[in-house]
């Protein structure tokens, strides 16, 4: 503690694995941390838990790495009690800006479930731990009620203790599918099929990398055992070609993929189900970073070895800097928090102090790099779209309109398609359709550069800046 100097303040945005690790690392080194998160309780999507009032007897049954969570949770409670961390729940950050003249940053957040009022919070520095969300590529019937993202099914299970439906199909690609299928089966749903488009043989090419990660293999094996116990068989090299139903989902048709990633005609199989949990990987939330002017490489916020963005005073950690899972997020968050603690005091940190976290970060990034090409959606997924299949769910833009924009009107990028068809102009601001539009337009998927990270009432934007809210630096 340095009583002569005012405490330096850090706003950590997001209370998932990266944000929690960062907040703890910074607060333990005497920064005054404001941890700002949209959820009613800490944990993010990975450590999402039922509300305490739900009285779940064994919430850990739906989780792995529960001990890590307990360590983070207890650390957070200690820091809150000691005044090191102020945890602001149900604060939906929509913009972060540099405060001209005075220095530091203003974090603008809509409060409560209503999200009608906004508060401005001041801090000397900002650490973005905004996480990611699921990517889903369209297919005929994907807008039917009962079709949910794999992560959405897990969120309902973890957070609401609700079983989404009685009979489920889990499909798509990526490491999330196994835990989702195991979670649904464990909660009593019949999992009629677990459909993965990846070819398990492709993992053999990365055998050396995988062998270096016995923890990951053990994790996969654990899910495998759980799935066997519930008689759920993995169906690899298959994809969903259609979801059927009128008012809601009634059945799903899957088909085998050939080595080129095309559906093999005549291999279709139909499963009756009321839930389809589907996902094709994850995308990082980069809106706040882009609003601050941080460099984004492809889809990821660019950071240096200390997790600093190229904007002075702004750090980033976790999925926002590249999808890689909870272990990577924890390591990055820890490094970012320690770097911020040193830099805000004008000191150059010694990376040897966080060597263990850096090693863990390197290993986790290697692992993510090895598995991401294996878990790629089928190369020819777009051929499954019928002309009337909606691509943009919000604005109800069918594939035919996007194809017309590309084939006849000459659009070669997502922005032109958007201007010609309205795909991406709706409520979700293209978060659900940008991957599909890029795929159909044959262009590279890019971050969308949204001015605000979430919808903001016009009344909030019309208000004069308000600095009378409690600020961590006052």
């Amino acid at each position: 503690m340095t009583p002569e100097a005012p405490p330096r303040t850090l706003a950590v945005i997001g209370a998932g694995p990266a944000g929690l690790a960062a907040a703890l690392a910074a607060a333990q080194r005497d920064l005054r941390v404001t941890l700002i998160d949209s959820a009613p309780q800490a944990g993010g999507q990975f450590y999402r838990r039922p509300a305490a009032a739900l009285g779940a007897r064994r919430p850990q049954a739906l989780h792995h790495q529960w001990r890590t969570w307990e360590r983070l949770r207890d650390g957070l409670a200690e820091q809150i009690a000691a005044g090191g961390i102020t945890h602001l729940t149900e604060h939906h950050v929509w913009f972060v800006e540099r405060v001209e003249g005075e220095g530091g940053f203003a974090v603008q957040a809509l409060i409560g479930p209503e999200q009608q009022e906004s508060v401005a919070l001041r801090a000397d520095a900002v650490l973005l731990a905004t996480g990611g969300y699921e990517k889903v590529l369209p297919f005929p019937g994907w807008t039917l009620p009962g079709v949910v993202t794999a992560g959405g099914a897990q969120a309902m299970l973890k957070g609401g203790l609700v079983l989404p439906g009685r009979t489920a199909v889990v499909a798509g690609t990526g490491p999330l599918l196994m835990p989702v299928a195991a979670g649904l089966a464990g909660a009593g749903a019949e999992v009629a099929a677990l459909v993965e488009s990846a070819d398990p043989k492709a993992f053999a090419r990365h055998a050396a990398t995988l062998a270096a990660h016995p923890d990951k293999l053990a994790e996969a094996a654990r899910y495998g055992v759980q799935l066997l116990r519930h008689r759920v068989r993995l169906t690899p090299r298959h994809t969903v070609v259609q979801a059927h139903g009128k008012a809601s989902l009634e059945a799903v048709t899957i088909a085998a993929l050939d080595p080129a990633g095309r559906v093999r005609p005549g291999t279709e199989r139909r499963f009756r189900c009321d839930t389809l949990a589907v996902g094709h990987g994850m995308l990082p939330h980069t809106d706040l970073a882009e609003g601050l002017g941080c460099r984004v490489d492809g889809l990821n916020v660019a950071v240096d070895a200390e997790q600093r963005t190229d904007v002075p005073g702004v750090w980033a950690a976790g999925e926002a800097t590249g999808i890689g899972g909870a272990a990577l997020s924890l390591a990055e968050g820890h490094i970012a928090g320690r770097s911020a603690a040193a830099r805000l005091r004008g000191r150059t940190p010694d990376p040897r102090a966080w060597a263990a976290a850096a090693k863990s970060r390197t290993k986790a990034r290697e692992f993510a790099a090895a598995i991401s090409p294996v878990y790629a959606p089928p190369a020819h997924w777009a051929e499954q779209l019928r002309d009337d299949t909606l691509v943009c769910r919000c604005e109800e833009v069918p594939a035919s309109a996007v194809r017309e924009a590309v084939d006849e009107l000459g659009a070669t990028d997502a922005r032109s398609v958007k201007l010609l068809t309205r795909a991406g102009m709706g409520w979700c601001q293209g978060r659900m359709c940008s991957a599909a539009v890029a795929g159909l337009a044959g262009c590279e998927e890019r971050s969308a550069r949204r001015p605000f990270a979430r919808p903001v009432p016009l009344g909030v934007l019309a208000q004069t800046p308000d600095e009378d809210e409690p600020t961590p630096s006052s």
Partner: protein
């Protein structure tokens, strides 16, 4: 755990403390609570984490609330309906 009730289009449905509106509706077997502007298609929860806005619903007279984010409070009046353009 003790529950409470909310109403959905006048029908009483049970909800548990801390449960979201979407979770309470799913528990009651309701998977769709909105129709789209152009196609009139039914929609319910999709992403489950507040990103996609498919699960919009009217709660206590406030339109366009995301059912997957808002906790179901005792006595909440939840209404389906056509999408409102805000």
């Amino acid at each position: 755990m003790s529950g409470h009730t909310v109403t959905f289009d006048g029908r009483e449905i049970p909800a548990l403390p801390g449960q979201t509106v979407a979770a309470a509706l799913w528990s009651a077997g309701i998977t769709a609570w909105r129709t789209t502007r152009w196609g009139g298609e039914p929609r319910g929860v999709f992403c489950g984490i507040g990103v996609c806005f498919d699960c919009l619903v009217e709660i206590n007279g406030r339109a366009n609330q995301r059912a997957c984010l808002v906790p179901a409070a005792p006595g909440d009046v939840i209404r389906s309906g056509d999408e409102d353009v805000a």
